[in-house]
Amino acid sequence: MTLFNLKGYGWMLWEGVQLTVLVGVVSMAVAILLGLVGAWGKLSGSQVARAIAGTYTTMIRGIPELVMILLIYYGVPTLIQDIFDVNIDFNPFIAGVATIGFIYGAFSTEVFRGSYLAVSRGQIEAAKATGMNRNLLFRRILLPQMWRFALPGLGNVWMVLIKATALVSVIQLPELMRNADIASRATRLPFTCYFAASLIYLLLTVVSMSLQQRAEVWANRGIRRT
């Protein structure tokens, strides 16, 4: 079985998976936060907030992830250097998480916007009528329900996001893809190493799918299906 012998580099892929999952989870948290802020901007009465949120989602949808990563990791430090004349170096982890979170924040903006609009108007009016202020309304009425409507969409965002973390390998962060790259050079078995990596990504997708299904069942408990 020379085709499937990783020559002792399996542990490297395992270490890579851990970092891939970490990058994925932290980026997803950033994306959810940005998504909530973005959705608030898109739905807000203020024209400035709407314009900013609109520009954000429009731009992200039109720029490839790779260009964004290169722009943030290599471009932003030189831009800051040119303007403020200070030298900064980005840590690849922070740059990767910031980029992926920023990109998928735009996608979750649309998810949260849709889930806000799915909450029935009557409930919001009722909450206002009982005297809840905006924070309380958000915390008690909107968030618990938006969460449920947003879950399928967020699950899709996560599925695409975890695959997008492979791109962080171009800025030398030792996640799964980067480690598979190193292993393929060391063992001179590129097909074996990349195929192993692809199967691990496939496994991550399968696990995410089953977790998503369970989360949806849990979130929809006690809800009558019409």
Partner: protein, 232 residues
């Protein structure tokens, strides 16, 4: 900000943009040719037909495109002796061939699932009516199912085209000189990183929204029969 570097690199970036558009168009065309028979197999009752397509789609949709690109471009090196014997090695040596091959397989998998959605959304009544008129097999697909499925799948296919257009930027990693490839090369030589990447980003934005508006126009034309007469 170094404007002169941007001005100097514009012709080369535009050349890269042509490569990007060519890669997208060729992969889309080949991908669609694969996706149509795949979608028909995918919706077939016989497990021997739908299961292989299901596995293919599952693999290509469940793994990152970057891994697929590396698997084809670098991975083929592991089978160099075999590929030389069958005379395919000259193809796999070229980055462009590997790029088109991977993008084609990737978009075929996504397009197949989109078309499957379209095929499954066609009402039974239409298929029954076609059968009652005596259509069978190929004729039924050619006249009724596929045109209807394409119409239904068009908005989703538009998204796939936009994703593929952006995904082509990945092939710059295997030395194909598309927009991103040119931007990376010029940036690493001149150290004008943000100038070039922002220019590249703007080029992609123009391409993406150009493609979007074109596909929306086609969608408008395709849905003429569904619009209210007052809107025509």
């Amino acid at each position: 900000m170094d404007i002169s570097i941007i001005q100097d690199s514009i012709p080369r970036l535009l050349h890269g943009a042509v490569t990007t558009v060519e890669l997208t168009a060729v992969s889309l065309a080949f991908g669609l040719c694969l996706a149509v028979p795949f979608a028909i197999m995918r919706t077939h009752r016989n497990p021997l037909l739908w299961m292989p397509v299901y596995a293919f789609n599952f693999y290509f949709r469940g793994t990152p495109l970057l891994v697929q690109v590396f698997l084809v471009y670098y991975g083929s090196g592991q089978f160099q002796i075999f590929l030389t014997q069958v005379g395919l090695w000259t193809f796999f040596q070229q980055a462009t061939f590997c790029a088109v091959l991977t993008l084609t397989l990737n978009t075929a998998a996504y397009t197949c699932e989109i078309l499957r959605g379209g095929i499954e959304a066609i009402s039974f009544g239409e298929i029954e009516a076609a059968r009652a008129c005596g259509m069978s097999g190929l004729l039924l697909y050619r006249r009724i199912i596929l045109p209807k499925a394409f119409r239904l799948a068009w908005p989703a296919y538009t998204n796939e085209v936009v994703f593929l257009l952006q995904a082509t930027s990945l092939v710059s990693i295997i030395t194909v000189m598309d927009i991103t490839g040119v931007a990376r090369m010029v940036a690493s030589r001149s150290f004008a990183f943000y100038e070039l990447y922002i220019t590249a980003a703007i080029l992609y934005l123009i391409l993406v929204y150009g493609v979007l508006s074109f596909f929306r126009k086609v969608e408008y034309r395709l849905s003429g029969h569904l619009r209210h007469p007052s809107l025509r």
